[in-house]
Symmetry: C2
Subunit: 466 residues, 2 copies
């Protein structure tokens, strides 16, 4: 941290209430980065934990005036480095703003502060006979603010959509400390530009989210569950396409590849078997779920499923899903890991998984693939030895090869984890030069001083403002 | 039109292929405005009808270089004046770009040019066993480009959402003629800012949409239909809230007020009766539609419905919905009309309708209200004599009073028609000064010369660029 940056951060902090700021190195170390791998981070100059929108506004006004970079942060559970700090930055953590302000069953909405843990909102909605569907893997500890900032997904998306599909309106503190409300409390509304959606998924680079109005839905029925195993990967891919083409929309449709199945077997002794090359795990919460899954069973069998199990019982369903729950923990046990996140058209998932198998064979790495087959969003998980520089380079190489192939298959570099610092280089490949210019224009319009999360999404140079 | 504007437009046209431009006054007169009332318009300097994205890009490059205002236009069926021309502008009509480029059942998407009529896309999707749900009132003649530019709604929204919820990606020609692709072909994708949603609903002020990738859904089941009549308006409002709170989501839930019912009776001899103060028209296409509507019937009766009719038959259902189909035609017969479009939280619709009745009584105007009760989006329709300046002023006064009340009830100034030139004054009231600053910043970022539809959404002064 250079002296002028130190002086700037100090001057800004001096203007803020002491009880919201900390410069204790032991505490700061815990705010340096999120849960991502392969992303740079440094201990920030300070951490601010405001309690109100007014305090966020005061903080941003001072930080803006002194030109101090600000890294907004939810629970830090992100997987792309979007909450990683730099030494000249101040981390703005929203964890103290954790109130559920309102649940309105007649209008099926809730108003919450950004620090509310997603599971807490889901529970509260459930208590009102409603549901907040988004269920990222981090649902038990991630916060709504972080979910909105990254447009988080989950297993529900195939039927219910992603976080952004549930955000009706926001309160946002802009880079210069001004406060704005976007969106609405009504189901429909087209007054002006969709600024709500502009902030959703912007990873803290355009504003600090201080309040979220979310849409709720009626509590779904208990789901019926189906698990189908396949002896050949392309068969599973064809089964997924057949389900989609048959007009069915499961409430969950997950896939585990052979490597993941073996890792789960090794960890749990579940005995799925070496001959399983792909596992599909499917739920339906439709009123006619039994018929839907009977139809899915028929389609799986027609496309070569070796074994199909169905249950209408909730506890039995949870047991059938155990392999999915263990997928990441089982792969993590094998070594250090780098989790990728790409989306391809649903009809191309088998091709992507086959390519990953090819990369694994070629590189000698173990790479398990699991994810959301129903929406084409897969998580190739590269296992390697972080202490071995060659293995580390091979892992990064495999990661880039897979990302490139996803683009080549008509997909995107990230389905739900976001760009952060992990994929900011890839963003330009996906967006192209005009798209990147547009990104830089929007960033400059909302944060002309370039103080908001300046290393995320676009590298500092590309943002053109620092 | 001042001489320098004329010279600029002429210089730009001279650079373009003659076969895409017309300055024939008889033709230009037909491109001066959309279907809105109370909005200013002038005959444009020229009309361009490009056939390809490259021609749109060439046109924008020339018009940008010469500083000529451009008004992009779909079918001109809008109701807010967003396609109204000024004398110094060139209208850019996308009607020649009307190809359905692709329908992909395995990935449930279609790629279309902007000039495709919405009904044609719906029919084509239906032929593939799928559906494109958005169904604005203008579905038979409006185009997808216009629907996307205004984020059009319709009767399906209570269950399926609005146009924007079906847009996966766009090709857009920017103000300076550069071409950009936004979004994706995958179900999920979070790479960078949501530029797709920024263009959706921006009413031609940020770019010219030249291609749209839309999400399709499985073809819904044939709907069951219910019609309930109420002798008191608040009863109907409570019935709507009861349906929502009971966890039901109809595929359509419309309301007609007393004035509209009487107009329909007068036109059709349908004999709904003077004692009907509100009519609810509800459909369900759920697998358990019969049970859903039985439950709705029970809730309507519990909240004072005088008469309830249900049918599972498609033809009979269409007959039950005849009153809804005739609502606007029946009100139009009574005189000149000004159609409003506001949204309120669903629990407040009876309050808004009661307020409209009060305004009508006070002003001596006939004002019928019909609309989408299920999502709180209502269309108060003010009948007046356009030849009488006092009546015209009274109509505008009533329109503004109703818009203000919608905001006061927690609603928005427009649910689906857009801001255009009709409500650009109201936008500032809803957005507030910081919101308007943000709008101006975004506009300046994407269209620094301010040539794109400079009178729509924000008045020229507010956009700050001309």
């Amino acid at each position: 941290m250079n002296p002028s940056a130190t002086a700037r951060a100090r001057a800004a902090l001096a203007e803020l209430p002491a009880e919201i700021a900390t410069t204790d190195p032991d505490i700061l170390a815990g705010y340096a980065r999120d849960q991502s791998q392969f992303t740079p981070s440094e201990t920030p100059a300070a951490m601010l934990a405001p309690r109100t929108t007014a305090e966020v506004a005061t903080a941003m006004t001072a930080l803006h005036r002194h030109g101090v970079p600000v890294v907004p942060r939810g629970a830090g559970s992100g997987l792309s480095g979007a909450a990683n700090a730099t030494a000249d930055s101040v981390v703005l953590s929203l964890h103290r703003m954790d109130a559920i302000l309102e649940v309105d069953p007649a209008n099926r909405l809730a108003v919450v502060q950004p620090g509310v843990v997603t599971a807490a909102l889901r529970e509260r909605a459930s208590g009102a006979g409603l549901a907040y569907p988004p269920d990222p893997g981090s649902v038990e500890f991630a916060t709504i603010g972080g979910n909105v900032a990254t447009n988080a997904g989950g297993m529900c998306c195939v039927k219910y959509g992603v976080t952004g599909d549930f955000v009706l309106g926001l309160e946002v503190v802009l880079a210069d400390g001004r406060v704005v409300r976007t969106g609405r409390r009504t189901v429909k509304g087209v007054a002006g530009y969709d600024l709500t959606r502009l902030f959703v998924g912007s990873e803290g680079t355009l504003g600090v989210i201080t309040e979220v109005t979310v849409r709720l839905v009626p509590a779904p029925r208990p789901a019926h569950t189906l698990v189908a195993s396949f002896a050949a990967l392309p068969d599973a891919g064809r089964a997924v396409t057949a389900v989609v083409e048959d007009g069915l929309t499961p409430s969950m449709m997950e896939i585990l590849d052979r490597t993941t199945v073996r890792a789960v077997d090794a960890m749990s002794g579940m005995g799925l078997g070496d001959e399983v090359h792909a596992l599909l795990l499917i739920q339906s919460d439709d009123p006619d779920a039994a018929e839907v899954l009977a139809r899915v069973e028929h389609l799986c069998e027609r496309h070569g499923a070796v074994d199909v199990a169905i249950s209408a019982d909730r506890a039995e369903g949870a047991m059938l899903l155990e392999a999915r729950r263990l997928a990441l923990p089982a792969l993590e046990r094998l070594g250090d890991w780098l989790l990728d996140d790409v989306s391809v058209p649903r009809s191309r998932i088998a091709e992507l998984i086959a390519f990953v198998e090819e990369v694994a064979a070629r590189s000698g790495l173990t790479i398990g693939v699991f994810g959301h087959a129903g929406d084409g969003n897969l998580h190739p998980t590269i296992v390697f030895d972080d202490a071995d520089p060659a293995a580390r380079a091979a892992a990064r190489g495999a990661f880039d090869e897979i990302t490139e192939r996803a683009l080549h298959l008509g997909g995107t570099i990230t389905g739900e984890h976001g760009v952060g610092r992990l994929k900011s280089g890839w963003l330009a490949v996906e967006q192209g030069p005009v798209g990147m210019d547009l990104h830089a224009s929007v960033k400059a319009a909302l944060d002309p001083a370039g103080i908001l999360n300046p290393c995320a999404v676009m590298p500092r140079e590309a943002a053109g403002s620092r």
